[in-house]
């Protein structure tokens, strides 16, 4: 079983992100379970959502306390809550930021965990650029696909097409594609570094 925890703020499409992750997994024939941390979240409040992936039926209903991956939609959360709580030692981290981990003062973390499973992505900018809205969720899941290699870009695009249509879908696909390529490039650069 592979467990992903997504952190963000109300209004940033955190729950949608996990749903789309689950759909992408479903498209690839896997079982997936996405669910929010239930509550009456209001816009701006810290929000967390979960996604489990497995090759067999997922029965477990507890929240994800020891994730295999973290997607952090809003870097400002880093100063508010312990988003890394329970993250497995070899877990993935994808952070929405135009800066590197080092630039935002997480150099120590990178040193501990190693570069191979960590990446930042200017997802908000990509959202603005392609969809016209500062919603980072779609670029992040595409980026996560690239970072983790868990899904193909095509599966993410299928999930986008299921959720959106028309121009919004097109924009999101463009954003996803660019994000995917950016992270892929980052990973390749690092691998070669």
């Amino acid at each position: 079983m592979f467990q992903i925890r997504v952190h963000g703020r109300g209004g940033q499409g955190v729950v949608t992100a996990t749903e789309m992750l689950s759909v992408a997994a479903f498209e690839e024939g896997r079982h997936a379970q996405a669910f929010p941390s239930f509550g009456s979240e209001r816009t701006g409040a810290p929000v967390v959502a979960f996604c489990r992936l497995d090759d067999k039926e997922i029965r477990l209903r507890e929240p994800i306390m020891e994730p295999d991956a973290l997607i952090i939609q809003d870097p400002t959360l880093l100063h508010q809550i312990d988003v890394f709580s329970g993250l497995k030692p070899d877990g993935y981290v994808l952070l929405n930021s135009a800066h590197s981990f080092e630039q935002i003062g997480l150099g120590e973390l990178v040193k501990q965990r190693g570069h191979s499973k960590m990446s930042t992505l200017p997802a908000t900018e990509l959202g603005l650029k392609h969809v016209g809205r500062p919603i980072p969720n779609v670029p992040l899941i595409a980026g996560f696909a690239a970072l983790s290699g868990m899904f193909k870009l095509e599966s993410v695009i299928k999930a986008i097409n299921e959720k959106f249509s028309g121009k919004v879908a097109e924009g999101n696909i463009a954003a996803a594609t660019e994000a995917y390529e950016l992270v892929k490039q980052q990973m390749e650069d690092r691998a070669h570094a």
Binding site: T18, A25, E27, Q33, F38, P46, I81
Partner: protein, 419 residues
């Protein structure tokens, strides 16, 4: 057709396949996504003919359903928690009038303190209302139970609640097999009401019945639910034939064959329980699971049969009879009365408290060793509780309990959410 879909949306699609004619609902979390989806289907005429009525309260929602059902229309509504309590008078009335209304209860705790998260207090408060209650373990089962529920309700002319855990199921995106319209039509015949308000054959429904006949009326309602005990497995079998899936029925066991310790539970927690049991089995513990699907009617015989060969059982329930203990446990103990079985009650998950595999692991092992108190409160913060009890001992006016607890735990309400 397999879909990766939110539980509420899946249920809405299943309801739509059942061709409801009148749907009414009042917004209350976590049931809203179901009726929102249905509302959209009615407005787009994807679901037609159907009347979708935005009522002004749950009391009205159930009342509208009473009216539409009495006038011969297949009627559906959904609610939860305070909403269910607000409609209680009409809930009893619908049952008393024998109206085959189907209602989804997205199970949620009852306040005060106000709490939107899942437990089973709401529908269990209606256990004596005369409604049947079926509990879904997964969203697939929630879909399937709704289809069976219409058939069951209409064959017996009795209303039924399909209970699914709020948020945990309603808001979870999972893989669900949504049947086709042909499949559902082949299973569920059009509504042929036992009686209906019709100028062609005027009747008076809802008479005042005095002591001379009231007992009989009530007995007949009871007899109906006893009939349901036979009908529910039958409908599940027919369902399997039509849809090729095991869904519904009265109870379901898991790894129970040689189990010495049995865990009894209802709803979605069964999944976590099963995962825990799998781990314990791997470690060599003889432990199994009994899931109760039909809470009302309560299958005394089936529960007894499932437990009679074990040595001990734990009823893990998301409900509390304040001043007494377990609610489901009482019924289970009734089922095994005279067997001398050791039974424990574990109250868990109230108000959405997470039920983790780790806690269950510990609980089940303790149960196996029979170290449990007769009534255990899973993951209760004794520190906080004891502090408050101490305070109250010293001063009768010690302030609101909930506030004090939050203070003790050093939590703000927003911080309390995480984890």
């Amino acid at each position: 057709m397999l879909k990766q879909i939110e539980g509420s949306k899946a249920v809405a699609e299943a309801i739509a396949l059942c061709r409801p004619e009148v749907i009414c609902a009042y917004p209350i979390s976590p049931q809203t996504h179901i009726v929102e989806a249905l509302g959209e289907m009615v407005k787009s005429e994807e679901l037609a003919p159907c009347e979708f009525i935005n009522v002004e309260s749950e009391f009205a929602a159930m009342s509208v359903a009473i009216g539409s059902s009495a006038a011969g229309a297949r009627s559906y509504t959904a609610t939860a928690s305070q909403g269910l309590l607000f409609m209680v008078e009409a809930v009893y009335n619908a049952a008393g009038l024998g109206l085959p209304i189907v209602m989804t209860v997205a199970n949620r705790a009852i306040g005060a303190p106000i709490n939107i998260w899942n437990d089973h207090s709401d529908s269990l408060s209606q256990r004596d209302s005369g409604w049947m209650q079926l509990f879904a373990e997964t969203n697939q089962e929630a879909v399937d139970l709704h289809i069976q529920a219409f058939k069951l309700a209409e064959e017996l002319s009795m209303p039924i609640m399909v209970c699914m855990d709020g948020f945990i199921l309603t808001h979870a995106f999972e893989r669900v097999d949504i049947p086709t319209q042909e499949q559902v039509d082949g299973y569920l015949p059009p509504f042929d009401p036992r009686q209906s308000l019709d100028p062609k054959e005027p009747i008076s429904i809802g008479a005042m019945v005095g002591p001379e006949a009231f007992m009989e009326v009530k007995y007949l309602a009871h007899a109906k639910q006893m009939q349901a005990l036979e009908l529910i497995p039958q409908l599940a079998a027919e369902f399997k034939q039509q849809f090729g899936r095991d869904s519904g029925g009265l109870v379901r066991t898991y790894r129970a064959d040689d189990a010495e310790t049995m865990i009894v539970a209802m709803g979605s927690v069964l999944g976590t329980v099963k995962d825990t049991v799998d781990e314990l089995r791997e470690q060599g513990h003889k432990i199994g699971v009994l899931g109760i699907i039909s809470y009302r009617p309560f299958p005394l015989q089936e529960v007894r049969a499932a437990l009679v060969n074990c040595k001990r059982f734990v009823v893990l329930e998301k409900s509390l009879a304040v001043g007494m203990g377990g609610i489901v446990a009482t019924d289970v103990r009734m089922a095994v009365s005279g067997t001398g079985l050791k039974g424990f009650t574990a109250i868990a998950g109230l108000g959405g408290r997470n039920i983790t595999k780790a806690s269950l692991h510990k609980l089940f092992l303790e149960a196996e060793q029979e170290k449990l108190e007769p009534v255990t409160f899973l993951d209760l913060d004794w520190d906080v509780v004891n502090k408050q009890l101490e305070r109250e001992k010293q001063n009768r006016h010690s302030g609101p309990i909930a506030e004090n607890i939050l203070y003790d735990k050093g939590m703000s309400t927003s911080a309390a959410k995480f984890g």
